[in-house]
Structures are given as structure tokens and as C-alpha cells.
Amino acid sequence: MSSTWQNTGTIARLSTEVNSLPTMIPALTIENLSKVYDNGFEALKGISFQVEQGDFFALLGPNGAGKSTTIGIICSLVAKSGGRVRIFDVDIDVDFPAAKRHIGIVPQEFNFNQFEKALDIVVNQAGYYGLPPALAKERAEKYLRELGIWDQRDVPARMLSGGMKRRLMIARSLIHEPRLLILDEPSAGVDIEMRRSMWAFLKRINEQGTTIILTTHYLEEAEALCRHIAIINHGNIVENTSIKSLLRQLSREVFILDCVEDVPEEIAIDGFIVRRVDSHTLEVEVQKGQHLNDVFSVLGEEGINVSSMRNRANRLEEMFVNLVEGAA
């Protein structure tokens, strides 16, 4: 079966609805949100952040940082201890049912009845939002087709592969056409091909107007998809900015250079920290303000040509580690 996810046009309707909202209203506003669990653990220490309409927003943080607690509060699975949450300007303390209508949630763990058929799971979810059966079936078909699992509609969920189950949860979350889609670790346990097609699908629905918030451990995923990012650690927001701005803050980057010719053991380049990994590989640390051209010039003078180059680690990953370790 093809893993290509198709857009049969339903998503376009989402954007029409989204665009009919006043653009100044944020999709999500969180103010001084706190959570203390019954065992005394303080998961959130008064965090505040905002997600604009149409944004693709990443919520990053190490395990236990408070990401899932935040998402749990937004979708009512966790009771907050303090603070305010507004979804498209609807305060969850004032009218949670109205706020819930705007949200679609794709949790990290599979949370459906494994004995039910895929189609029934999606149609039932539509029913919980009050969609009449005929409309529910029509939408279920469209979303299951878009996500490439229509052929498996009569298969009990337990018989689906991990990737199909993930797609089923995305179809289920979209059935009421939410304006804000929240995905908790959507790439967990998903193969590369499936991940790439999922990214393309999410990009497409975001371009068409759906605001997306995702948590992920794959920083490459956040860098590839998201425009804004909040990093949460020990229940505090330690960074909240655009990805571009965050990457600009990088004070240094480490590059791996694959060389065509043998690299001398005692190689040195003025102003740069250089390490010879093996006879054809160099590791070069470039500080902010330095230029790689200088490195290439010196290597050229030595008669060494560079065939390829890559970052030693994902750039965002380096930044993430710096921020999280700095806050620890």
C-alpha cells in the first residue's frame, strides 16, 4: 500500500473556516499555568506562552519537563492548579466544551479500543462532537483516504501496523475539523518513509490554515517543520522564540569535512579548532563571526579538496542541549 497521503480537498474547507476568524486572536494563550500533582510534584511552575493562528509551533523539552502536562491541561485530561488557558480566545474555565471544539489531539500513546474497526473509531469520534452519522461517515472516508488507510477501514485497530495506528489517530483528530491540531511525539515508533510523508501532510494542512503544535524528541523534525519554538525544562519555559532567531544565537558550530586527499596528522588552521578524525576526515569548530571560506582556503593551499561537509550534530540539538543544561 502506498504511504502517500492525499489531500482530497477537505482540508481546504478547514482553511476557509480558519481564515474566517479574526486574525489577531491567538490560537492558544497560556498565562501563569501551574500544575502540582497529588504526590506534590510541581510539573509546571507558572508558564506563559502564546501560539499565533496559522503557526507551526514546537514544544520541546527533556522527559518529565512538563510538555505532556501542558498538553493534558489544554485538552482537559489534566486539571490545572492555577493560571489561564484560552483557545481562540475561549477561556477553558468559562466554556471548556466550546474550547474543545477547536482542538484536535493526537496523543503519544495509542488511545483507542483495539478491538474496534478503524472506520468505527473515526465515525464514533465524530459522533462525540455531535456530527450526524451521514456527515460523520462522509468525513471519515475523506480523512481515512487522505491518510492512506481507507483500504484498512474494516480492519480491527489491533491488526494495524504502528504507522497505520498513528495515521488513524491523526484522521480521528481531524474528523471535527479543528483549528488547532496538537501532536504529542507524532514520529515516535514511525519509520523514515512514513515520517517524511507525515511531515508533508502536516505541512500541507498548516499551509492551508490549521495551527499546529507538536512536541517531539526529533529536533530535526522541529527544525524542518516549525516556525516557532518553546523549550520547557523543569516546569519552566527556558526559551520561546522563532527557530531562525534561536539558530542565530548559536555561538559555534562543529562541521565534519570529508577530504579527497590525505590529511596531514599535524594539520592546523589559524583561529580555528581543528581535529583530525582520520586520514580523510576533519572536524572543524567555527565560532560566530568566523567564515568557513578561510578553512577552505587553507586546505586548498595544502592541496586538500573537500568532497562533502555536514554538521556534527543537528544545529537545534546543540542549542537545545545548551539551553537545557544551562537551566539545569
Binding site: S76, P107, N111, F112, N124, Y129, G130
Partner: protein, 257 residues
């Protein structure tokens, strides 16, 4: 949500519940038919024929209403406790909790699902009983009212059990150690007149006494307790269970963190 949307949500939960117990009918419907057939044969025919009359009826006639009610009670309870706990265990209940459907609709969806199974089993067991005795209904209105009220009460009780349960063991403890003794001591097999005064008074704390006797009155026209008191007690226990179930849902206890 508008009323029509709440109705759609209610029907969705109810349809899902009915589909569930029909899909596994060998676990949900068949056992009652077999168990009750055995009760009819052993207690009704074999032993009952030696007991003689009870309450002015043959023992078989006397015991049949209680056995039908026993099937209704156990099936209504079992349906909701296993279905709702299963949803909790698999986290599928989150599908409902994240949606805008109101708590009362969630509760009524599960409860009416339990009632529908209770009714279906009642029909099956009644048909089985016709192989062993001739049933003459004294009041169809009372029979139907008592069946509906009883299955509602025990569906609510099953819901409360499911909310508190942490494991599959917890959903069998109450039926085994509480519900079954209450049923057996609730006058299914004997008339309260046989009990010493003290134990007859103690029995009045048992909701099953009112349920069984009200139903028996509907079928045979005789009861050990007064009908208005029986109805009053069933309504009281149902209101109590409904109020507590709503409290559990509204507070999110054991459902939300």
C-alpha cells in the same frame, strides 16, 4: 453543544455499547441463558418439586421472577463495569474526555447501554423459563417499570465500580463478594417470611430485596414488602448512585489527573 448534538453523542455511545456486547455475545448473552437454564432445572424442577408451595405458588413459579431479576442485575452491572473500565484501561475513554460531550451524556450513554443488555437478557431468560413453567403476568406496567429501574440502578453501580477500579481484579471483586451475596440474600430463592424477625429486618437494608419483590409482584401479584416502599427504595438508591456517578465525572476523580 446543542441538544441535537448531545443526542447524536448519546446515540453514538449507546450504539457503540450495543455493538460491543453483540460482538461478544458468547461472553455477554449466552452465559445467562445457560446458567439460568441450570437454575430452572436444579432449583425449579429437581429440588423445587420437593419443596412444595412458597407464597402460595409452586416453587418453580416463585423462583422464576427472582432468577430473571438476577440475570438483569448481573448483566446490567457487568456491561457497564467491564466496558467503562476497558475504556479506562486502554485510555480510549480519552476520546470522550477530550470531546465537548457533557458528563451527563457520557453517563447516560453507558447506563442505557447497560439497561439495553439487561433488557435483552431478560427477554432471553424469560423465553428459557417458558420451557419450564407457565408465566402469567400480573401487571405488565409494574414488570416493565421495575426492569427499567433495576437495570438503571445496577448500571450506575457498575459505572461507579469502573471509575474506582485500577485492575481487572477490581471489577470482579464487587460482583463476587458484594453483588452475588446480596442477590442470594435478596429473596430470590425464598420468601422473607421464612427468616427470623431480626434477619428479616436486616434484609430490608438490601436493595435487592425491593427489586426482587417488586418484580415478583408484577409477575405473580405477591410481595414480601409493600410496593410503594419497594419503588421508593429503588428510586432512592438510583438517585444516590446517579448523584455519586455525576460527582465522580464532574470532579474527574480517577479519570483526569
Amino acid at each position: 453543544m446543542s441538544l441535537s448534538e448531545q443526542w447524536v453523542a448519546f446515540m453514538t455511545i449507546l450504539r457503540k455499547e450495543i455493538k460491543r456486547y453483540l460482538r461478544i455475545w458468547t461472553q455477554t448473552l449466552l452465559p445467562s441463558a445457560i446458567t439460568m437454564s441450570l437454575y430452572f432445572v436444579i432449583f425449579g424442577s429437581l429440588i423445587g418439586s420437593r419443596i412444595g408451595e412458597m407464597g402460595g405458588f409452586t416453587y418453580m413459579e416463585f423462583v422464576v421472577p427472582g432468577l430473571i431479576m438476577m440475570a438483569i442485575v448481573t448483566n446490567s452491572y457487568a456491561n457497564v463495569v467491564s466496558s467503562f473500565f476497558g475504556s479506562k484501561f486502554s485510555h480510549a475513554v480519552e476520546e470522550l474526555l477530550v470531546s465537548p460531550v457533557s458528563n451527563v451524556v457520557i453517563l447516560m450513554g453507558y447506563v442505557v447501554g447497560g439497561v439495553s443488555r439487561g433488557l435483552l437478557v431478560a427477554v432471553v431468560v424469560t423465553l428459557v423459563s417458558l420451557f419450564f413453567t407457565h408465566l402469567q403476568i400480573h401487571s405488565y406496567l409494574i414488570v416493565i417499570t421495575v426492569v427499567l429501574m433495576t437495570s438503571t440502578l445496577f448500571s450506575l453501580a457498575g459505572f461507579i465500580n469502573a471509575v474506582y477500579a485500577n485492575s481487572f481484579d477490581d471489577i470482579s471483586i464487587v460482583p463476587t463478594f458484594v453483588l452475588t451475596p446480596l442477590i442470594y440474600l435478596g429473596g430470590v430463592f425464598y420468601s422473607m417470611d421464612l427468616l427470623p424477625e431480626f434477619w428479616a429486618n436486616v434484609s430490608k437494608l438490601n436493595p435487592l430485596v425491593y427489586v426482587v419483590n417488586a418484580f415478583r409482584y408484577g409477575v405473580l401479584g405477591v410481595s414480601d414488602v409493600s410496593l410503594p416502599i419497594a419503588f421508593g427504595m429503588i428510586i432512592f438508591f438510583t438517585a444516590l448512585a446517579f448523584g455519586f456517578s455525576m460527582h465522580l465525572l464532574n470532579s474527574g476523580k480517577r479519570l483526569r489527573q
